[in-house]
């Protein structure tokens, strides 16, 4: 009976469905707690950034885990997305009063722009072998940060104006408002992001990434990662498939940037520096390369963790590092793995007994690892 069920749903499909279920369940639980007023203000404020970081981690996993290239400039795409989204949302303020429509359009604009830059970076670089992508994306992230730092964007009735280097070069008519002010970043953003929007973006990201990985193209990407020569010999185009993964990842990071940017009234370009790229990479590595569920959990936990450690005062940075080390050791330690496996087996056994006693058949998706 059970084996038959398992065969009916392919392993990958089942895994994907569980991921959706986890995200939806988490959303439902948080919303339920929120309705009851049981969530502390500090956690409530983190819900949107957590969603943004989950999207960042899942999309970076597509490059690092699935296609096997190292990208160190993911925050650069987030930055492009965020500032594009902020400009789009502010420019459309008069035309479209409905906040969620503007947020959606801003996300589309942010994703398109970030994807475009992903294409520009990817086309020359993905033709190279070795670690060149890592080096170029690293430089790309820094370039984006520095350009954003000297960029001045404003809007008046004639349209959007862009200037560089000095704020005095941005000439606006009387009713005009500056949107991005160089090193001060974007000022006076109308907050549009909500937890529900973040949740939907996570679902869309999962849908895009999981279906891409599960498709014919996804199998080609995996094949290229595992053995480039063998894959090329059967006629797979390296650049095409790697580019597919890279651009998708960049576009999703752009959308995450929009979600993140429109969650704050002020946003400086310095936020999206090398450290942010590395932070997202830590999510991916800790969650497991190529493991999408791991990325989701790691991103959520590691965003909450530093805040949960606020009680530790000055020692929280140290405590954070040690917790990271513990997680790494624990997940790779055979003794611990056996222990966890045994616990899971017990839990599963109990469930099985319970269900058998009540004469019910086990529903797929409830009791997996």
């Amino acid at each position: 009976m059970k084996t038959e069920k398992k065969r009916r749903l392919r392993r990958n499909t089942r895994r994907s469905l569980i991921n959706y279920a986890i995200v939806i369940a988490a959303y439902a639980i948080v919303q339920a707690l929120n309705a009851g007023g049981n969530i502390k203000s500090s956690l409530q404020g983190q819900l949107v950034p957590i969603c943004a970081y989950i999207v960042m981690a899942v999309s970076l996993n597509l490059v690092v885990g699935v296609s096997g290239e190292l990208s160190l400039g993911h925050a650069g795409f987030m930055s492009i997305g965020a500032f594009t989204g902020i400009v789009a949302a502010t420019a459309l303020q008069a035309a479209i009063p409905a906040g969620w429509v503007r947020l959606m359009l801003a996300m589309v604009a942010g994703a398109l722009f970030a994807g475009l830059f992903g294409l520009l970076v990817g086309v020359p670089v993905l033709r190279l072998r070795g670690d060149y992508l890592a080096i170029v994306t690293l430089a790309f992230g820094e370039i984006v940060k520095n350009i954003m730092n000297i960029l001045y964007v404003g809007i008046d009735e004639k349209g959007v104006h862009i200037a560089a280097l000095e704020g005095s070069r941005l000439v606006l008519s009387e009713g005009g408002v500056p949107i991005i002010k160089g090193p001060m970043g974007a000022v006076g953003i109308a907050k549009l992001s909500t937890f529900t929007a973040g949740f939907l973006l996570v679902l869309v990201t999962l849908f895009v990434v999981q279906n891409l990985v599960d498709s014919r193209a996804g199998r080609a990407i995996l094949a290229l990662r595992d053995n480039r020569i063998a894959a090329e010999s059967v006629g797979l185009s390296v650049t095409k498939y790697k580019l597919m993964a890279f651009v998708t990842s960049a576009a999703l990071a752009g959308a995450a940037g929009v979600l993140y940017g429109l969650n704050y009234t002020g946003l400086a370009a310095k936020k999206f520096d090398f450290n942010t790229s590395i932070l997202v990479l830590v999510f991916v590595v800790l969650g497991g390369m190529g493991n999408i569920r791991g990325s989701i959990i790691a991103a959520a936990l590691l965003t909450i963790l530093p805040e949960a450690l606020r009680e530790f005062a000055d020692f929280r940075m140290l405590a954070y590092a040690i917790v990271l080390i513990i997680v790494m050791l624990a997940t790779n330690n055979p003794t611990m793995q056996q222990f966890f496996a045994a616990v899971m087996e017990k839990v599963r056994g109990t469930f099985r007994e319970l269900f058998q006693k009540s004469g019910e058949t086990v529903k797929g998706g409830g009791d997996h690892e």
Partner: protein, 416 residues
């Protein structure tokens, strides 16, 4: 097995850390308790918020919870720590006074980052904060100001000097000069004292503070008959090499170099100008304050350097001396700079306004916000502090006080 041991060790360390962390916190709150215990003699039992919810001021002491936000770790930690300790000095002084208002004070780290600043703000909300003191730096302050405006908390920042922080928000006030204000003041000061007519500017164009001052200075300079002959930029305060910028100023024949930057890059500029034998006048803004106490800095380089600073740590009046004494006890000997003095003044400004507005424990943070706003913008309200006497505020939240310029002579500030 070895790995398992390593794991155990790590777990033990976290536990030890937890213990340390808690101790540190307890230390802080003990200090507060000490303060409030000192004067709870006439008023036993009615101290906590819960105890006096309906009490009004008839019950005596009122507890005002001030929550501070600033960078205690990261690149900007020296500024955050200065505002943290500076305010702590004022809180301790007020709590030791025979006053009706007692202050509970908590400071959260924002790592000079908008997202972390919001997290810090939210955790202060969970602590039932009444008034927000911060943030120390402009960019995080901008993000927090949006939230406090929406949630109706009164906010007073010691050092976030961008005009964007207060623009359009009635609840946010500054105790420092705004960046444009400093730029305009500098241009006027240079022109009025006939220091020079050919000016060079070196500023950090990746920094909001530096850019803000420069832009206002550049706009005002022509009105004052000053000629800006050389403008050069850098993008990182850790930049070690300024020879290009200094040579550019030299070859343009500038008589005065205006440095609206922090003291770390400024110290390098002074050194490299001396190395190439270029000796113009140097003029800095308040970010220059702290250069004399910088580790490994050759004091002779700063001789003749002029800067605008609201706080003179070498002043001999009693209040400044007492402040420096108490501050050094908190900071383990670190000298206070203008950030610390701004922080000190912030707490006194909030205290004076709370006294004037008649804050009582039954008030929600919305009521306190409204009451403090009307107190601050009242024409009869003024505060004397370390960074200026007779400070007043307008409805836009900007402070009005006398700018002070000093010149460094024999390693100390001398008022000009």
């Amino acid at each position: 097995m070895k790995k398992f041991l390593a794991l155990l060790m790590a777990a033990a360390m976290v536990l030890a850390m937890a213990a340390c962390g808690n101790n540190a916190n307890n230390g802080g709150s003990n200090a507060n308790n000490g303060g409030s215990n000192a004067n709870s003699g006439g008023n036993t039992g009615g101290q906590s918020d819960a105890g006096n919810t309906n009490g009004g001021d008839s019950t005596g002491a009122v507890t005002l919870k001030i929550g501070g936000i600033g960078p205690l770790t990261g690149d900007a930690a020296i500024y955050g720590n200065a505002t943290y300790w500076g305010a702590q000095v004022a809180v301790d002084e007020i709590n030791a006074m025979q006053s009706d208002i007692k202050i509970e004070y908590k400071f959260e780290d924002d790592e000079h980052d908008g997202e972390k600043a919001i997290n810090a703000y939210r955790s202060l909300q969970d602590w039932d904060v009444d008034v927000i003191y911060g943030c120390t730096t402009s960019a995080p302050c901008l993000a927090v100001a949006g939230e406090t405006f929406a949630d109706r908390y009164f906010q007073l920042t010691p050092s976030a000097s961008s005009t964007d922080v207060t623009a359009g928000r009635d609840n946010v006030f500054q105790i420092c000069f705004t960046d444009p204000n400093q730029g305009v003041t500098a241009a006027k000061y240079i022109a009025e004292n006939k220091m020079a007519t050919k000016i060079a500017v070196i500023y950090n164009n990746a920094d909001a503070y530096s850019t803000g001052i420069y832009e206002a200075f550049a706009a005002e300079a022509p009105n004052q008959g000053l000629e800006v002959v050389s403008v050069s930029t850098f993008a990182d305060d850790k930049n070690p090499d300024f020879s290009v910028q200094v040579r550019d100023a030299q070859s343009a024949g500038a008589e005065l170099v205006f440095l609206p930057i922090y003291y770390t890059p400024a110290s390098n500029i002074l050194k490299q100008a001396k190395d190439i034998g270029y000796a113009p006048k140097f003029f800095g803004a308040d970010g220059m304050d702290g250069i004399l106490t910088m580790e490994g800095f050759d004091l002779s380089l700063a001789e003749g350097l002029m800067l605008m600073t609201p706080f003179n740590a070498y002043a001999t009046d009693e209040r400044t001396v007492t402040f420096i004494d108490s501050y050094k006890k908190l900071s383990n000997g670190v000298e206070p700079n203008q950030f610390a003095a701004d922080g000190y003044d912030c707490v006194y400004a909030i205290y004076e306004a709370a006294k004037k507005a008649g804050i009582n424990d039954g008030m929600s943070h919305e009521d306190i916000c409204t009451a403090l706003i009307s107190a601050f913008t009242d024409s009869g309200f003024s505060v004397d502090g370390l960074t200026g006497s007779g400070m007043t505020w307008n409805t836009s939240g900007e402070v009005s006080k006398e700018p002070v310029a000093v010149v460094i002579e024999n390693g100390i500030y001398v008022n000009m």
